[in-house]
Symmetry: C2
Subunit: 355 residues, 2 copies
Amino acid sequence: MKPTLQAVADAVGVSRSTVSNAYSRPDQLSPALRTQILAAARELGYAGPNPTARSLRRGFVGAIGVLFTSQLSYAFTDPFAVRFLAGVSRAAERHGTSLLLVPLPDDPAGARQAVENAAVDGFCVYCAGDESWALDVIGDRGLPYVTTAARIGAGTDHRYVAIDERAAARSAAEHVAALGHRRVAFLGDGVLPDAPSGPLRLSTADEVPHPTTRGRLAGFQDAFAAVGVDWSAVTLLTAAGNSRAAGADAVRDLLADDAPPTAVLACSDVLALGVLDALAARDRRTAERHPVSVTGFDDIPEAAEAGLTTVRQPAEEKGRIATELLLEPPADPAAGQVLLDTELIVRTSTRPVRS
Amino acid sequence: MKPTLQAVADAVGVSRSTVSNAYSRPDQLSPALRTQILAAARELGYAGPNPTARSLRRGFVGAIGVLFTSQLSYAFTDPFAVRFLAGVSRAAERHGTSLLLVPLPDDPAGARQAVENAAVDGFCVYCAGDESWALDVIGDRGLPYVTTAARIGAGTDHRYVAIDERAAARSAAEHVAALGHRRVAFLGDGVLPDAPSGPLRLSTADEVPHPTTRGRLAGFQDAFAAVGVDWSAVTLLTAAGNSRAAGADAVRDLLADDAPPTAVLACSDVLALGVLDALAARDRRTAERHPVSVTGFDDIPEAAEAGLTTVRQPAEEKGRIATELLLEPPADPAAGQVLLDTELIVRTSTRPVRS
DNA sequence: TTGAAAGCGCTACCAG
DNA sequence: CTGGTAGCGCTTTCAA
């Protein structure tokens, strides 16, 4: 139906190679012939070589896959993920590479297939949970990949761009501890896979499966342990998702206590903003009696407006560097393992504890 | 190097077809054989059929292209575009379809090529300027597409999901006019392609090339013409981009006038927020002497916090419906032309003009 | 239930 | 500068 390269060749009376050259290697034929071929193509309604056939032949696609372990549509809901994507797309557009966003079905077999079937030259994996299965599939396919977290047990050639989660979290916790807070709560998303929203008991941060959350909780713990606050004395909260509403839900009951914590340290800004929402929803008397300091993580744009004290990590740069690492692998493997700086941004959501 | 389906077939001692069936049509061979084949594949490090080869053979890719006429990385900067993408991805993930985000180079020939080379089954075109060239290319390729604006001159089978830009804009302008405002300014992004940021003269809205902006300006004009304000009496402003900063830049000089407009109607929330920024940056005396009402367009999340009066259009639904229209074309062509409702959201940024 | 044959549409090599 | 040849890796009738 649709004309093929062959049809154009026949129409002009040349061979397929020549038509192919007209498109892909203009220097391989006379300008006149090329013009003639292109004209015939337009005539026939031939819109250029079939991309799939070309990719098969060339063994190269011109697209990289972007993998979010969570729901794809969720990625567009999370400001941090969106800024990460902005960075990815900036690097991609500089390289003329397309981005294939691959939605992963909930069932593991389907998710595996989705990764197997993606026609791409490599993957940029946004780590948001357990993605090791995906990395295995990608490895089996012989494709390169870059992640946003160091993969434990991976070789020195594993490329990633990450932050020191633990140290970053510690910086926030030290700030809060220095303000005198001792009765505190840590809030993370999905701290344990199936735990319901709210308080949770854990004997150590090591039990947390999600590496990012684990690192951050451990960092919080480090700082408070250093000032004599035992792990058993902190309230550990888990939210049912990384959203403002989930953050608010997770702390609501705790805030109604007679002696609520004087500070809540959250594993993301989105959760922290939810805590602020819950705080703002209290009646005036309770609010005055029990001021609560809050810290977040990421420093998304909304954090500034809300006056949220948080740990800034460069979202867009993370995406951009990850993509560059994928598209132009550094000769030196060490240069493929990037640790980005973080910075504690102190705003108004943290205040000295009332003595 | 990488094992192929053939290698697996050889290893097991069956034909390629059988291995193929093991992956694509499990019901076509005995479970025992299938298990054996899959085991051999794992053994050899075969990660399943090559997606590109499969696509070529099947004539189907399993991905749709998403086209932004502007910079791809810009799309992640615009809250409205992000929410649109969220809707697109929601529909795509329900269909198990991937999303190919295609960056378009600045030069027309390169952009054309990018569209020609995208390995997809169809396109979802986010209209943000002049995309007719892209629609032509897509049409030549014989691929289906959906746009976010009615294409003038297209047949009745052209699928789109849009809003009535003019009527929507009129609703905002009528509200402002009803508040008594008569000395007003209209602010759009790139009203004329090469005009510098700031005031601009135009004899009619019809001269604006960008259809969305044209429609909105015409709507503003409709409402004010109805209350006796002539087009020549309104200040027309153009911004150098759809960003907060560009919006602020565009109005800054005008606000320093002795008799600035009492209201600014912007073509997007982002621009309107920039106007609010510029307004907030004035000294107290000027601000008190010259209050300025502002309206936006889209109702992005930030608009609510800023108290911006705006016209709401359902961003996510727009993306979702567009994608569904592409993925499951309605039998009735009329059902493929969707006009979404808009709603005027009155907040605090518009007040009666001081008499 | 299995296998042989016939391409999908294109590009790269190499000889002319 | 041009054209023939030989696949890229897979799926799909169709016949056995």
